[in-house]
Subunit: 320 residues, 2 copies
């Protein structure tokens, strides 16, 4: 397993990613809502990655990793551990290239998530819901297959891929003052930093995080990575900690990290569903939740808001 | 109150409507889903009127009626009776023109629907939930205000306005074989007939109806209007009967009327929410429900599917 974590991706990597994945991901639309503009006093431009292939921005990074492999690497396939969108998006990308993909998932992960990963063609290998079991099982998978490890976010290929999202956004919307995205492990925010710091350095970058998993905010304030101990939040895509590569970008280019409570996140989620008529995950509502409670920061500004994904269990909506 | 029901709207009326309402309604996007194409064997193009102003295609007809009034008429305002999208859409259009609007609604209508109508500025006048009370209260409103009556669908201005939807669709998607829309009172289907019979006469027009409110299908087979007696269906926007004007278009230009059960409608609705990540009403799922059960009719065809509206009560989803 090659160590990818030491290489800092560059603008050229993002531009190469954009070309590489063009046929495999959507150029997602930007939606606006007059009502939400009136409510926030800002002009909000929602970049709809919930409408992305496989329902999440992670199709970008995964596709960049998969289609950047040499034929020899590709023949051995890819592998990852994920109980969320990265697993299904890597499965999607591997399926597009027609190569093997293995996703290690805790046996306790929801059946729907395992089905989604399998639905795109990958093999699911179950582990116990502990870090030690996951690492042991994953090492076995790699030893057995020789598969290329594609980390959900601490991977330069993944970050370069996620950076294509804001590259589209600044072409779709002129004169943005700021972009805000949810932060978990920091893949999307790092990609946004990579792209905007090079192509639109005047655009401020904000990250939005659940209060109940506010490790990135605390890391940002402390000046070094702090990990949460098993956080619980409705925004279940945002529980993972920053890693070296994402910390590199966050500490250099993010203006601020804002937080919202679970109740505020659910309220913002409902507001977007009701007013914009789009289905998105709780994680995707964290930016609007923080904009609503930080009016002074965003009022009068043109703000890009990344809606990161739309894979939600319709039978278990957080307001039911 | 001028009788509008005898005049059959023409292509020129639709073209005039398109110009008149251009600044007041969205040119709504067309979405596609590879998964739904695979499932149906057809190429489906979803025209997303759930993303329309006020959340429904009825903003088109209502805007055409409101902005077509003379200044003298406009000063007296508009009025209608509706417990659904027409009420809020007429309120929206009247608000844009800055004229009075009164909507007569049964006192038993959901609070959320009354709030939506009031939210755009109209006055709500309540009646008892019976036809006789509604007619008596509505007559009082008109006598008192001199307001122009804008019927939800049996009105040439409304039908011409709804016809702008398929005028956009045939510009957005080339070489359609068919268009399918839900049918209740028949306003959207009539507008579709008006536009396509003139501009794209080779495109077949299908209407989709709940089995539990299949009056349009039975009318179509019988050759004259049959009204249901208080039908009950999850597709609550489709309970109203055809009227003279809509029957005129339906009997001349519709190829077939297909039906689906409430269970099939809910399943199709969930499929669209899950796969396309859009919020839409049960009524809007009826076309996909009928496509899924009439594979032989649509497989291999390029089919426009009108998603009519997105105003659903998130606290009372039909699968919860």
């Amino acid at each position: 397993m090659k160590d990818q974590t030491m290489y800092i991706p560059t603008l050229d990597d993002m531009l190469a990613a954009r070309e590489r994945i063009a046929g495999h991901v959507h150029l997602t639309p930007v939606l606006t809502s007059r009502m939400l503009n009136e409510l926030t006093g800002a002009e909000l431009f929602f970049k709809c990655e919930n409408l992305q292939k496989a329902g999440a921005f992670k199709a970008r990074g995964a596709s960049n990793a998969v289609f950047g492999l040499t034929d020899e690497q590709a023949a051995r396939g890819v592998a990852t551990h994920s109980s969320g969108n990265h697993g299904s998006c890597l499965s999607y990308a591997a399926g597009r290239r027609g190569i093997p993909c293995t996703v290690v998932m805790p046996r306790t992960a929801p059946q729907a998530k395992k089905d989604a990963v399998r639905g795109y063609g990958a093999r699911v290998v179950e582990c116990e819901p502990s870090t030690s079991s996951r690492e042991a099982v994953f090492a076995e998978v790699v030893a057995e297959t020789g598969a290329e490890f594609v980390h959900p976010y601490n991977d330069p290929r993944v970050i370069a891929g996620q950076g294509t999202c804001s590259a589209e956004l600044i072409e779709q919307v002129e004169d943005l003052d700021a972009v805000i995205a949810p932060i978990g492990g920091g893949g999307m925010v790092s990609g946004t930093c990579l792209t905007l710091s090079n192509l639109a350095p005047n655009v401020k970058i904000y990250a939005a995080e659940p209060e109940q998993a506010d490790d990135a905010m605390r890391s940002f304030k402390a000046g070094h990575i702090i990990a949460d101990d098993a956080p619980e939040t409705v925004a279940d895509g945002l529980k993972v900690p920053l890693k070296e590569l994402t910390w590199h970008f966050v500490q250099r280019h993010v203006t601020d990290i804002l937080t919202a409570s679970d109740a505020e996140i659910v309220e913002a989620m409902k507001l977007i569903w009701k007013r914009m008529k789009i289905v998105m995950e709780p994680s995707s509502a964290v930016p609007l939740a923080t904009i609503l409670k930080n009016r002074d920061v965003f009022a009068g500004k043109r703000v890009g808001v990344i809606i990161t994904g739309g894979n939600v269990d319709l039978d278990k909506l957080p307001w039911n």
